[in-house]
Each structure stands twice: as structure tokens, then as C-alpha cells.
Subunit: 271 residues, 2 copies
């Protein structure tokens, strides 16, 4: 889809939800680097009459540390504007009386401080990178297979992501390994779960058709938002691949070069 | 099914195929331990007019080392009688011009000595246990995702196995992880692949209805053999679970306490 064909929803639009990694910044050594124009684009959105939230499947750091990292890159963001899987999972665990065995990044552990973790009756996995050892994965497997009714929560379900010099397996791959070994279906907390997108809409007090999601992940960002009745815009940064524009099941409502271009188009349509 | 109900195929039977781990021996520290009566049962089969082959998804050792291990436990077995996934995979790789990136136990590597491994155009994974590190799995993933048409061979597709004090994830779990990350379907070499069972039948020169498979794995041994037209008998040793006897899709042609009982019943029916 050519940029100029992008069907504006500018006039009726009341809120914008931004994916973070691949839209605001590219990850990498030392916290990553801001994508050109994205800091200014966030400023423009904040100065407009649109509501703004950030929606990420980031699970390497707790929200405080993650927001600090983005502030250091130059972004004007506060913790209350950021929606990530771990707090959503904590709410589900408490609501349903689950005590998790955790296989997540050490940096994420503080998010689970308030949760009872004794005598686990479920497993929660996030992207754990180097912590996805044979031993740790077996340990999580043994907890699950030892439960009468094994329950697995996965913080996101991504296939892979770009990390420094190459691609790396994301949590979804390990979720599938445990699903197969234990003959179960994991509950994904985070994008593209409709419950997750809905919690962001609830926070803004908006209906789906009043909100636009902007992300670099065609399936999880764009497709997930569309499944909830929102419009979904893909940026050609981050994990974007040209083949996304001829994907078999998901078609973005628009494809733009980067966040800066997206924001300029949105704001232009409103005036 | 009660043991006494076992429908004999004794008179028409011309060959028996035995699974190894969980039927002949239990694995564990120092090479494992023979299951009571199994050494004598193999002797009885060899003294009969029945053909005998061994069919294993063992991929921790090459066949020579594996057979040596069983000889030390007291079994009368030779390499030519043993069918395992690695040699079957080597045949497939050579036939189809594949140069593998290998993620397998070090002990299995000699099986692939004759295969060109430069500039890989496919990935072969076996049960690799401690070698299933985050780094090694990412490396295999990167080879696959970098190929125009990624091809993954899995030496068996087991979910998990018993190892010493507990259960451990088997190769199938890691196969599923790579399948999901790369959006592909792996080719399983070994049980329950029909090609694999057929190669054993070919070696004996028998038709499926003339052969009986005996194993502890209901799906891979019994179900796999039945899918090829053989009878399949399950033993209540190894990874057998009582719930196997009310499985939703696979029903064994008979269930017996152990190999010793199976062999006594087979030989009794022939006289």
C-alpha cells in the first residue's frame, strides 16, 4: 500500500497506541538508539488533543527501569502510560489464585514481588534469553508435568526479535516447546491478546474505532489491534520486512516509513 | 485390556521388532540397568525361528557405542540388528543433497562423519540435552531463518523421557520451538515415521502383518507400528503410564507387564 493511499481516520481519532521497540528505538548494546524523528513525533502527539499510550511486550526489565531507559534516550514517557505483560500477568495471577514458578529475566523479577511464589501451581515464562538453559527449561517443564492441571502463562508469544548483530529466539518458541511437551495450550499475556489491548482502551476510556495502533510487528501489533476493532498502522522500521506488505492473513490499514511520517499524516488530517 | 485377552498373532508371526530403552533396560547413571527378564527374553527370541530387529530413537551415542553399552548390560545384540534415526538421516541427507548444521549429542557425531557439512542448507537436531543451550538453539535458528527454503530434520519427535531422578524434555520440544520460530514443519526421522518402520520391515523381507512391534511408548512405538499395518504390543515398563490404557487415539493390540511376559506368550502361541 502506497503511503498516499493511507485511509485517514484522523478526524474521528481520539487516541493513539504506540509499540515501543522498533517504533521508538532499536535495541542493542547500551540500551539501544532512538529511531530518527521518533522523539519529536512523541512530543507532537503529546502536544495534540489525542490520548497517547505505549504498549509493549518488553519483558527484560520492570517498567520503572524500562521507562528510565527511554527517558535517557530522550523520550517524554511516564510509567503510568506504559502497558506491558508483567503487570497484566500479576493481575491475572492474583485474580485466579495462581502461585507462579517464574522463568523470566532477572530484571523483570521486581514486577512479581507482591505475588506468592511458594508451592507453585502454574508456570510463567517471559523472554529469558541466556536464562533459557536446558536446566531452567527442564525445571519449568517438571513443575508443569507434576501438576494435575498444568497451566502455562507466556508473556507475549513472539517468534523472534532482532538483537544487536542478528535474530534471537523469542519467548513464543519456548512456549511452543513446553506446550508440546505437556500437551497443553499456553495463555498468552500481552500482545496480541485481545484482553491486553482492551485494558489499554479501558484506560483511555475509548471505543476501539476511536483508537489507532502503530507498530513494527504486523501480526502482533497490527493484526492484534485489528482483531479488537482498532485500525493498525505498520512502520517500516524495527522488525518490518518487505514481505509483510503481501502477508497471507494480515493487511495493515496503512504502511509508513517511520513514526515521524505516521504522526505528521495523522495530525495533518485533523486540521 | 487384560493380558489374557491378548489376540495372538503367534502362528502367522515371522518377525519381532523391539524398542530398546524402557523395554530392554532403564537408562540412568553408568549406562542404566537391564529390566528383569529382558536379557533372557532376547535369548529366547534369538533361539526361535522368528526374525528379530531392534528399533530405537536413541540419539545420544552412535550405534557402535550404543550396542557396546547393551552388550555390557548382558544383551546379545549386534550393530546390524539395530535401527536408529542417525543412519536413516544420513541416507536422506545424501540422497537429497543436504549439508546439515548439526545440533546433536557429541557422541552421535561420528554417525555423520561421511556427510558434507560445509555451507549448511538444512538443520538436523537430535536429543542434545545439555547442548540445548540458548546459544546453540539460536545458532540453529539463524541457519534456518537465513535459508531461502528452510529445512529441519528431527531425529525422533519425543516429548520427554525419564532420566535418572526425573523427566527431561526430548528433542520434539525443541523441534516445535524451531518450527514455530521459522514457520515450518520439521521432517521427523525415526519412530513414528512410517518410512523408518518400513526400512526395518524391508531389512527382514517381511510384510507388515507378519511383524509385531513391542515398545513402552504408546504413540511412537505402538501407534507408529499400527499405522504401518503391524501389530503393536505395549509393555508396562519404561515410560508406560496407566493412562495409556485409555488413550484417546491409540489402542495397543495388547498390554503386558514386561518383555519377558510378552515373549513367553508369543512363543507359547506358536507351539
Amino acid at each position: 500500500m502506497a503511503d498516499t493511499d493511507w485511509p485517514g481516520c484522523g478526524k474521528s481519532l481520539k487516541g493513539v497506541i504506540l509499540d515501543m521497540c522498533g517504533v521508538l528505538y532499536d535495541s542493542g548494546e547500551g540500551g539501544g538508539v532512538a529511531i530518527t524523528g521518533s522523539i519529536e513525533a512523541v512530543k507532537k502527539l503529546k502536544a495534540s488533543d489525542l490520548q497517547l499510550r505505549f504498549c509493549t511486550n518488553e519483558t527484560q526489565l520492570n517498567r520503572e527501569a524500562f521507562v528510565d531507559k527511554l527517558k535517557r534516550l530522550g523520550f517524554d514517557i511516564s510509567v503510568s502510560e506504559v502497558f506491558s505483560p508483567a503487570p497484566a500477568a500479576v493481575a491475572v495471577l492474583k485474580e485466579r489464585g495462581f502461585r507462579p514458578h517464574l522463568l523470566v529475566y532477572d530484571g523483570l523479577l521486581p514486577e512479581f514481588d507482591s505475588v506468592d511464589k511458594t508451592n507453585p501451581n502454574c508456570v510463567v515464562i517471559g523472554d529469558a534469553a541466556e536464562k533459557f538453559t536446558y536446566q531452567n527449561l527442564n525445571e519449568a517443564f517438571r513443575v508443569l508435568i507434576g501438576l494435575e492441571k498444568p497451566v502455562l502463562f507466556s508473556l507475549g508469544g513472539g517468534r523472534y526479535y532482532k538483537e544487536g548483530d542478528g535474530l534471537a529466539l523469542d519467548v513464543g518458541a519456548y512456549m511452543k516447546a513446553l506446550e508440546y511437551a505437556c500437551d497443553l495450550k499456553a495463555e498468552v499475556v500481552g500482545k496480541p491478546s485481545p484482553t491486553f489491548f482492551q485494558s489499554v482502551l479501558n484506560d483511555m476510556g475509548l471505543q476501539p474505532h476511536e483508537a489507532l495502533m502503530i507498530g513494527d510487528d504486523l501480526v502482533n501489533d497490527v493484526g492484534g489491534a485489528q482483531n479488537c476493532g482498532m485500525k493498525g498502522l505498520q512502520v517500516r522500521t524495527g522488525k518490518y520486512r518487505p514481505s509483510d506488505e503481501r502477508h497471507s492473513t494480515v493487511t495493515a490499514d496503512g504502511t509508513v516509513d517511520d513514526l515521524a511520517q505516521a504522526v505528521d499524516m495523522i495530525l495533518k488530517q485533523r486540521h
